[in-house]
Amino acid sequence: MNAIERLTLEWIGESTTAPDVYTDDATGMAPIRDSINHAIQELCLLTRSFVRTFHLPMLTDRSIYRIVPRRDFWGYPLEVWDRGNHRKLTQTSLAVLAAHDRRFLWRSGTRPSEYFPLGLSALGIFPKPSASGSVLEIRAVMVPKAYTADTDPIHLRDAYQRAAAWYAVSEFCAGRGDAKRASEAWAQYVEVAGLQFMAPGQADRLFMMGAPPDWRRRE
């Protein structure tokens, strides 16, 4: 078992050396692993923990490309770099390009200057390349696919691994029907990961140094 699984078992009261229920194999650890994978994916979705670089070879007169990684999930592009022309492309959108020139998809050139993301997996380039062969280097935020073995790499920053364990504890408690403990563990997850926007009650707390001496209401 990896560090996050070990931490989760400790917090739910399971033995990490000789576990009874969540044994250290694929079948026994599956429920815990399932929850940890969801936590990792959610944290990578929101914290830019997992960034990868892709190379997109461009074709003649093709401006829209659909990118479907087989191993992980495509998030969004952070940076698109044209190695051949030594310059970075700027991000734009279909609406901006169409407002400027509604026939922008006709334009072609040797030096792409802008890109526009489309949906969850497509990317457009402007102007479209007039010849094949050039390659764009795309740095993109990704979401890792679920790991299945404890030897698989965990694509999560160390700072968030405790949060992933709290997430798994919360789902364990919910699976046992203990909504109160599940909510407490969930609040810990949000706190440790710094994702208070997901639980507005957490963000609305008011902090103050010390307390006024007479804070108790006088009878």
Binding site: Y65, V68, P127, A179, A199
Partner: protein
């Protein structure tokens, strides 16, 4: 993309109902459908960009309404039902056949299948279908030129010959309100492109010209598809997830399917049944709401989170003013 059948085991484990004692599979599937619709409505994250051939290649055309029950796929109802005789007629003059007058002349040919309009001047609009799952269309392109939408009444008010006018499209309009059938105005010439070996029309990406990177193992590599836009329709639209069967794949990628599961669990624990547990209903509702906030945050990040720099590359100067007639060479 996961289907309901693939995630049912996990949902039942969290419900502590592995044998479907309290919640039947059909119940959970209904909640699955409702959770999809709710999330799609609240967070416009499902956006698809696809190319479609023009005109649409319908699976079948039919004349009388009763025929549709024996057909499958994308259907087109051709010609006109003449109510007076309970017959179907092609040309308007047929309704005046028994009168002394000859009846009105038509503006062109009538056809049964839309592709037949390639062989003459069509007297009626050549239809194309919007995808079944398309909600709002955000962007519409024909032959690499962006065009806007109008109502049929707006087009008819401008041009009495709008149904047979041919030329380069400047707008698109619905033929039937609330239906998926639309038309271009003016109608462009129909271009037939014989599919050559290697060209594949695939639901996943429109016309795929080139695909690379998928290895035999199926779990590594990268699939790249280039979308062809010449003489085709290209649309960017919001997806309304319609899941009719339990093995239909969810349009949400796996990292986001978990939020759908939270919605299913909220519905299950909140239903008026033996499994009604308000505390767990509230817990999973909170998880679902947190998921909605996470999806909104992801959507904002996808638009704003990038490496920025001062200045940028100059955009090529656009051609302003009236455009050249259609027969002039393209810029």
């Amino acid at each position: 993309m996961s289907s309901f059948l693939e995630v049912q085991g996990r949902i039942r484990r969290l419900l502590r109902d592995p044998d479907a004692t309290i919640w039947t599979t059909e119940q959970l599937f209904r909640y699955w459908q409702q959770a999809h619709l709710e999330l799609a409505r609240r967070v416009p994250l499902l956006v698809d960009a696809r190319a479609f051939p023009y005109p649409t290649r319908f699976d079948a055309s039919f004349m009388h309404p009763w025929e549709a029950q024996f057909l499958e796929g994308d259907l087109y109802r051709c010609w006109t039902h003449w109510q007076a005789q309970d017959e179907v007629c092609m040309y308007p003059w047929e309704a005046a056949y028994w009168m002394a007058d000859a009846g009105p002349a038509d503006d062109g040919i009538r056809w049964m299948h839309p592709w037949e309009a390639a062989f003459g001047v069509s007297a009626e609009p050549v239809p194309f279908l919007i995808h079944r799952e398309a909600g709002a269309v955000r962007f519409f392109v024909y032959d690499q030129e962006a065009i806007g939408s109008k109502l049929e009444s707006e087009v008819a008010a401008v041009d009495g010959y709008y149904q047979s006018r041919s030329g380069r499209p400047i707008c698109w309009y619905p033929i039937e309100e609330g239906e998926r059938i639309h038309a271009l105005y003016p109608q462009p010439p129909i271009v037939f492109d014989e599919m050559s070996e290697g060209d594949v029309f695939d639901d996943a990406g429109g016309l795929i010209l080139w695909s690379d990177g998928a290895t035999e193992s199926g779990d590594t590599g990268l699939t790249l598809e280039a979308v062809a836009l010449e003489d085709q329709l290209f649309m960017v639209y919001d997806v309304t997830p319609l899941l009719w069967n339990m093995d239909d794949e969810s349009p949400y990628p796996d990292p986001l399917v978990h939020y759908v599961e939270c919605g299913v669990l909220e519905w299950a624990f909140g239903a008026d049944s033996e499994g009604f547990i308000p505390s767990l209903r509230d817990y999973w509702r909170g998880r679902k709401e947190a998921g909605v906030e996470a999806m909104k945050r992801f959507l904002r990040l996808s638009l704003s989170d990038r490496q920025t720099q001062m200045g940028g590359s100059k955009r090529p100067r656009a051609i302003k003013g009236p455009s050249m007639p259609d027969h002039y060479p393209e810029p």
